[in-house]
């Protein structure tokens, strides 16, 4: 299979990749770009551990051919905030004990970020509905929902 050039933006930076058409976005992000935030959980769209934002919309990197991302803007959890400048949601997850093993956390954070962009003050019901595809086996979700609900918006 022939490799081809793909140009895209990842966390605000232009990237050029020389990849095969059957390469999954998830593996390209992790193996080629060293961005380990998106996780493999099932490979079949069932868990959302691999969630990334494509043009601001949550999508599942395990079911995306990287070649189709030409010209798109991708955000991974690494693009959300830095350790010394956390995104308010990241801070809220810490404040509310929403992180246990943390394997679902990147996907949860990115999905929640997209929710808040659409709906800055979601109800509990709206949060549950928006996050229903993101599986977490540790927390029982309550702390995650609370963290999203009580996020402190930047002034």
């Amino acid at each position: 299979m022939e490799r081809q050039w793909v140009k895209l933006k990842v966390n605000g930076k232009e990237r050029q990749l020389f990849i095969k058409p059957n390469e999954l976005l998830l593996n390209v992000l992790r193996d080629e770009l060293g961005l380990m935030g998106a996780k493999y959980g099932c490979g079949l769209g069932e868990c959302a551990a691999c969630t990334v934002l494509v043009n601001g919309q949550p999508m599942l990197a395990c079911l995306i051919l990287a070649v189709t991302m030409e010209g798109q803007e991708i955000t991974t959890v690494e693009g959300m905030g830095d350790y010394d400048r956390l995104h308010p949601l990241q801070q809220s997850f810490l404040d509310h004990g929403a992180v246990q093993c943390g394997f679902c956390t990147p996907g949860m954070l990115l999905t929640a970020q997209a929710l808040l962009a659409e709906n800055p003050d979601p109800s509990e019901e709206e949060i549950r509905d928006y996050l229903r595809g993101n599986l977490c086996r540790c927390t029982g979700y309550a702390a995650i929902v609370r963290a999203v609900k009580e996020v402190k918006h930047p002034a």
């Binding site: 299979m1 081809q4 058409p21 059957n22 390469e23 999954l24 593996n27 493999y40 099932c42 490979g43 079949l44 769209g45 959302a48 969630t51 494509v54 919309q57 949550p58 999508m59 599942l60 395990c62 079911l63 995306i64 051919l65 070649v67 189709t68 030409e70 999905t111 997209a114 929710l115 928006y130 996050l131 229903r132 595809g133 993101n134």
Partner: protein, 296 residues
């Protein structure tokens, strides 16, 4: 195991279409050796689990002019690559086509709905496809295009079996059109899954027209109870032209449940599907009737 969902090991040639002509040309050239890729939420799953192995993949999400929703007096026209999320956010769908709105809302979860398209949901032809029952009850028409031209097919004739449609190898589904809904019409959709984000154990859609206390026309469709999504004329006939009462709804629901032939699979059992189809149909009928302005 025989699969490895961590990677996509299949090899194929990737073709990225930017115009309809380009897509149709490739489809004409490669036919059954090619597969159209839209959101990929069905196709990539099937490739990873070894159910299909296309030699060519024609990516159509970049085709100009396939991603639209147009609502006017002629009804609703939806481009095939319109995502489920976009449908859900469209006011015309939400207010005018409740069953379709509810169906889309019930599907998977946010990320899948951002990726998945209505064309893909139909093209995949799963017996459980959630947009199918609503489209069946609205009497939707599908526009199929090939280099030879286009043809219009009623959605009812589209599904032939699990994963099988009447699309010819060189054809692409380009548009779904729904007739306008009158002011005294109402529709609804209901679904049961194992958990909140799931394919249906069973789903049902109802659309009906009201005149005073009577129902003038009614369509009912079930999913996940037969090799394709199906209408149940047996139940529809009981309601058309009749005054709607609780009793009649129950009778029709029973008739509907009696008409289906579900199987047992990983999601549910035949017995369960037979039992709850009645409950769901009755509820869907009530909701549609009330939305049409009817009282009970």
């Amino acid at each position: 195991m025989a699969t490895d969902t961590r990677v996509l090991a299949a090899e194929f040639q990737y073709l990225e279409a930017h115009s309809l002509d380009e897509a149709l040309a490739w489809l004409g050239q490669y036919g059954t050796r090619a597969r159209v890729l839209a959101g990929g939420t069905d196709l990539l799953v099937k490739m990873k689990t070894g159910q299909v192995q296309p030699e060519y993949i024609i990516y159509i999400k970049k085709v100009a002019g396939l991603d639209y929703i147009q609502a006017d007096e002629a009804g609703l026209r939806i481009g095939a690559t319109t995502t489920l999320r976009k449908l859900e956010g469209c006011a015309a769908v939400k207010t005018g086509y409740s069953a379709l709105y509810e169906a889309v809302r019930s599907m998977a979860a946010t990320a899948i709905r951002n990726m998945g398209t209505i064309g893909g949901n139909l093209g995949n032809a799963s017996p459980a496809a959630d947009t199918a029952p609503p489209l069946l009850v609205y009497g939707a028409t599908l526009k199929l295009a090939s280099q030879a031209g286009t043809r219009l097919v009623p959605v009812e004739e589209f599904f032939l079996g699990p994963g099988k449609t009447c699309l010819a190898p060189e054809e692409l589904l380009t548009e779904i059109s729904l007739p306008p809904q009158g002011s005294e019409s109402g529709s609804s959709f209901l679904k049961l899954g194992r958990v909140a984000a799931d394919i249906a154990k069973i789903n049902v859609a109802v659309s009906l027209q009201r005149s005073g206390r009577n129902c003038t026309a009614c369509r009912i469709a079930f999913g996940s109870v037969a090799p394709t999504p199906i209408r149940v004329p047996e139940a529809e006939a009981l309601l058309a032209g009749q005054e709607i009462t609780e009793d009649l709804i129950e009778t029709a629901a029973q008739a509907g449940a009696a008409a289906i032939k579900p199987i047992s699979d990983n999601r549910s059992t035949r017995e369960y599907r037979l039992k709850v189809s009645r409950v769901m149909l009755a509820e869907a009928l009530r909701a549609a009737w009330q939305r049409a302005g009817g009282v009970l």
